[in-house]
Each structure stands twice: as C-alpha cells, then as structure tokens.
C-alpha cells in the first residue's frame, strides 16, 4: 500500500486518515494529514528537527500519542512541520519531524489543537495499514 492521507467529515472538527505499507508509514501519513490542515506541506522547508519518543503498547493510543507529541513539540518550538519519520521497537516508538519557523507567506489553515480518541482506529487494510481519528481544531 502506498503512503497516502485523506480526510473524513466530522460535525465540528476534522477526521484524518493515514495509510501505509507498515504501521509506522501509516502513522507518518496520519501526521502529514494533521499538519496539512494547518499549512501547505510542500512549502515547508526542513530547516529544523524535533524528536519524539514514547512508550505505548496499545497501537491506537500510540497513534494519538504520536500526533499529540508532534503537535506539542511543534507548538513549543514555534515550527510548522512538514516531514515525518517513525520507527518502532516493541512498545518503544521513536520519531523525527522536520520543518521551519512559521513565516507570513506560509499558507495558513486552522490550528489543530490535538488528536482525540473519537473514531480512533489502527488496522490492517489492503496489504498495509490504515489509521484514523478525529483531530480537534
């Protein structure tokens, strides 16, 4: 399955979907879906990096934790993030993301405040993995 992302409707917020050949790739695609709500990803230069590590045995809670760690680190560092990489060893997850400080000419959408447990799912699909949840904006 090729890495890709998509959206689904939610009454007040936005549903995100990430797909990939591996669970890690699907998580990376979910991060792309999340950050693309805030800015145009191809316009973001990979000038700065943030690291994210966490331990979580439950794959669904791991998705929420991954996205929320990225959102928190991006906000704390004042960065727009556009590229993501994630590795897993048993229950230990280690991720990296690249981006740049917000600038006036980055196309802006709405701020994503966090990933939620609503419509949360991580499951095998079409020979790969599909992840989804609603993000709060």
């Amino acid at each position: 399955m090729e890495k890709s992302y998509a959206y689904f409707d939610h009454e007040a917020d936005v549903g995100i979907i990430g797909r990939g050949a591996t669970i890690e790739a699907a998580f990376e695609a979910a991060a792309e879906a999340t950050f693309a709500i805030m800015a145009d990803l191809p316009s973001i230069q990979p000038a700065a990096k943030v690291d994210v590590t966490f331990d979580e045995p439950d794959p669904e809670l791991a998705l929420v934790t991954w996205l929320n760690c990225l959102l928190a680190e991006a906000r704390a560092a004042g960065l727009a993030l556009g590229r993501f990489s994630l590795r897993r060893h048993n229950t230990a997850w280690r991720g990296e993301a690249w981006g740049e400080p917000w600038r006036a000419d980055l196309e802006k959408g709405v701020e994503v405040k966090g990933a939620t447990l609503t419509m949360l799912s991580v499951h095998p699909a079409d020979g790969g993995w599909e992840t989804q949840c609603v993000v709060d904006v």
Binding site: D9, A12, V64, R75, K108, G114, T116, T118
Partner: protein
C-alpha cells in the same frame, strides 16, 4: 436525529422513549423539534453513554445547541454526587478547558463611531495575536506559568492587565481555588510558553458588536445595555495547555478505569471517582487549566482596551460578564427537596443562575446571571439572563452557542474565503483574519440558526433573552 426514539414531555422537553434501563439513568433533551431533528444520532448515543456513568444525579441532558462531541456531546450537562461514587470526567469537561465568552460593554453608540470602525478593526487585528503559529508577547518559564495557573484572572489583574473591578464580573471572581499546577505535565506547560494572550483559531473570535434589539428592558438596564450601543465579545479558552491537560488525562484515566472500578461505555468518557486520588488529581489539573483560560481572557480584554483607546480615545470598556462553558464545578443544588453538593459537568453549556443567587454579581442579582450565547461571524449573539426555573430543570444550565450544522470540509466546498469576507463587508461586517481558508470553514451558513437556539433556550425555561447583538468587526484566527 430520529425523533421517534424520543418521548415529548412538553413543547421543548424530550426524554428517551424507554426511560432509564439496563444500568442507564434518564436522558433528557431541551429544544424544539426542528433543532432536535437536525442533531446527529451520535448526540443521542453519546448522551445515553453519559447516563451510564456512576453517581449520576437526575438526567444526562442536552441543551438546544447540542452536537456530536468527544465522549460527551457538546451542549451536554451532567451532575454527579461524590458521596454516591460520582465521577469527574475529562471528556465531560472537554479539551479546551474553561473555554468561554467574555463580554465588555462600551458607552459608545454605533452612529457616533461607525466611520472609525475600519481603523478599529485594523488596530484590534494588530493587537490581538490570532491564528495558527501566532505567539503572544508574553513568554513564561514553567515556574512563572505556575503562578498563572494558581492565580487565573486575579494574577493577570495583579500584573496590570485590567482593573480589580473586572473580577467582580467573572465567575468565581476570576480564580478557581484548588488548582494544582504540579498535576499539569511539563509538556502542557511547554506548549503554553508563548500562548498567553492569544486568541487561537477555529471558532474562537473577538467581535465588536452593536446591541440591535433589547428583549427585556429591565434586565438590559441592570446589565447596562441599550440599543445602538457597542459591546465586545471575546471567545477563547485555555489554548495549548488546556488541550494537553485534556489529552494527558483522557489517556491516563482511560487506562486506569478498570483499576478504579469504572466501566466505560466509551473510552472518551475516561473518568475517575471524584473522591479518588486520580479524580482529585484531574480536578487540580482542570482548575489550573481553567485559571489559564481566565487569565488569557483577562489579558485579551486588556489588549482590546489598549487598541480601542488608540482609535477611540473616548472609549471606556467595562466588564459585563465572563462565563466558562467547558468546565466541571462543585455546586449546591436541591434534589427532591434536599440540598446536595454535586459536581456539574457543563461541556459546551453555560451556567444559568437565576435571580437571588449569591454567586451572581450584586448589580445583576435581581435579574439573574448573564448567559452569553455566541454566534458566528455574520450572525447574531445573544445575552440572556439565568432563570429560577433552570435550577430545577437543568441544574442551572443553558446553551452556549449556535453549534455547527455542517462539517468544515463541506463548508470549504461551499464557500470561498475571500468572497465570503467581501460579502460580509458589503453587509457592514468587517472581518480581519490570517486565514481565508479558516474564514470559509467558519462561514455563518455552516452554523445552526442562533436565533432558533436562543428562542428554544428561553421557551425551555433555561434562560430568558435580554439583548440581541450583531457583529460589526470580527477578528478571527
């Protein structure tokens, strides 16, 4: 929502047809048939889940503006008794802890200042950090932030943001006692470092409004309102810190549920008995988040006053009221003739104390607490007054806003930001925003009719309409 599943008690009160059953308490809806019919079925499903939580007193209730939320529906109200194993739920408070509306009144008449509104809009847009990626001028170390989380709006006034009289018109005088900054994660504090004094984005806004119509002259006089007068409404909350508290505790309480003996009908209803160490820890963190929101609105009000004075030096902005609509509070209510201490969750619902309540500011005590129902840019907002009737019906709770009727993706397909902003300008509403995409998502047509919500709120006896306000300037993130 399928109204066939509900039994109508009176024109504006409905209950689930098969009553309380299978370990579920009663479920009640307030609103007109068209408003209820427009709600997603998920609202009913979520409310029925809330009614299964331990220690519920009375019914799990939905206000007329209810819509699908996270575990709890937005517009949900539920009371729990700590002495009967009642719970505190992170989902029942919501992510944006103590999100609310602050309203300030001016002594200006629209006709006297209308030509200067474009300059005022620009000054406000420059003064109020709004939108994704925007930071405030204030930067806090974790230790300094702890003072904010302890002190709320009272801290902000001590630091020169506003005047002590402001606090008379904020719920709990601007500070929730019992806040525990130590129960707030370092990550939450890190997120908030540059976010104090920022508006955020999404449905948050700052509006300059005109009082277009007075519905209740007596209450309007008590609130200092008259037709043609300008007012300011600020809608925002606890920003990244509140969200991180919600996220942290949602996950940890969901994992702890089994150990705590709580059977969760939905993981997002993650909760703990109020009297358990976990429940007390969340309460301490939630109160810290609420104080963050109260301080944030106090700082934003100060920045608003400064911007007004630059353009309209004669302006004097006085506090009308500040309400939080995502919060859980201990309150005393009469149940079956007995006064009991209950923890009232209001998730997207406003407290609505009626006349005579000691917690209502003295100048308003004879008419009841102001209830602020926000609209969306382009549509009206309402100021209502709490009623004695709401005490018996909803533990003194009422609606908080219009509520969305359309998803953001649908709105983006239907409206184009630039065209929308130009159209609103032709109607005399000046929009200032960093994101045209965000403006399209927040199109007035994507929300329910606030007038129907306010009418249903009054007819259901939850609050009575005092004044209708129309936006003239709207600052959006």
């Amino acid at each position: 929502m399928d109204l066939g599943r509900l039994q109508q008690i009176d024109e504006y009160t409905w209950t689930l047809r098969n009553g309380a059953a299978n370990g579920r308490g009663p479920v009640q809806f307030f609103g007109s048939a068209p408003l209820l019919a427009s709600m997603d079925d998920k609202v009913l499903e979520q409310l029925a889940n809330v009614a299964k939580l331990p220690g519920l007193v009375g019914a799990a209730m939905a206000m007329p503006d209810a819509h699908w939320g996270y575990g709890f529906p937005v517009g949900g109200v539920a009371a729990f008794d700590p002495e009967q194993g009642g719970i505190i739920s992170a989902g029942g408070v919501g992510f944006d802890i103590s999100c609310g509306v602050r309203c300030l009144r001016t002594h200006l008449q629209l006709r006297d200042v209308e030509s200067r509104l474009p300059r005022l809009a620009d000054a406000l847009f420059q003064a109020i950090p709004a939108g994704v990626g925007e930071e405030g001028l204030l930067k806090f170390s974790p230790a300094e932030l702890d003072e904010v989380l302890e002190g709320g709006a009272q801290w902000a006034v001590r630091k020169g943001f506003g005047v002590p009289e402001d606090l008379e018109y904020v719920e709990e005088r601007g500070r929730l006692a019992g806040a525990a900054p130590a129960s707030v994660s370092p990550l939450a504090k890190k997120r908030q470092r540059g976010e104090m004094g920022t508006l955020g984005s999404g449905n948050h806004y700052l509006e300059v409004q005109v009082v277009e119509h007075i519905c209740d002259r007596g209450a309007a006089t008590a609130y200092g309102l008259e037709e043609g007068q300008l007012a300011v409404s600020i809608h925002c909350g606890s920003r990244g810190l509140g969200h991180q508290i919600g996220t942290d505790y949602l996950v940890s309480l969901a994992k702890a549920a089994n150990r705590l003996g709580v059977k969760l009908p939905d993981r997002e209803l993650a909760c703990a008995p109020i009297e358990s160490p976990e429940g007390q820890q969340y309460l301490g963190a939630m109160r810290a988040g609420a104080n963050c929101a109260l301080a944030n609105r106090q700082i934003l009000a100060h920045l608003t006053r400064e911007a007004f004075h630059r353009v309209l030096p004669e302006a004097k902005l006085e506090m009308l009221y500040d309400v939080s609509h995502n919060i859980c509070r201990p309150e005393r209510h009469r149940v079956d003739g007995q006064e009991r201490l209950l923890y009232i969750h209001r998730k997207g619902a406003t407290r609505s104390f009626g006349p005579g309540q000691p917690d209502v500011p003295a100048p308003y005590r004879e008419v009841g607490q102001p209830v602020l129902i926000g609209g969306s840019m382009g549509t009206a907002s309402y100021i209502l007054a709490g009623t004695a009737e709401s005490e018996a019906r909803t533990f003194s709770s009422a609606s908080h806003g219009a509520g969305r009727s359309m998803s953001r993706r649908q709105a983006l397909k239907q409206w184009q930001g630039r065209e929308l902003v130009d159209e609103l300008a032709r109607r005399g509403i000046l929009i200032r925003t960093k994101s045209m995409r965000g403006a399209a998502e927040e199109a007035p047509g994507a929300y329910k009719d606030v007038e129907l919500v306010a009418e249903a709120t009054e007819r259901a006896g939850l609050a009575r309409r005092v004044a209708l306000l129309r936006p003239k300037v709207c600052i959006k993130g």
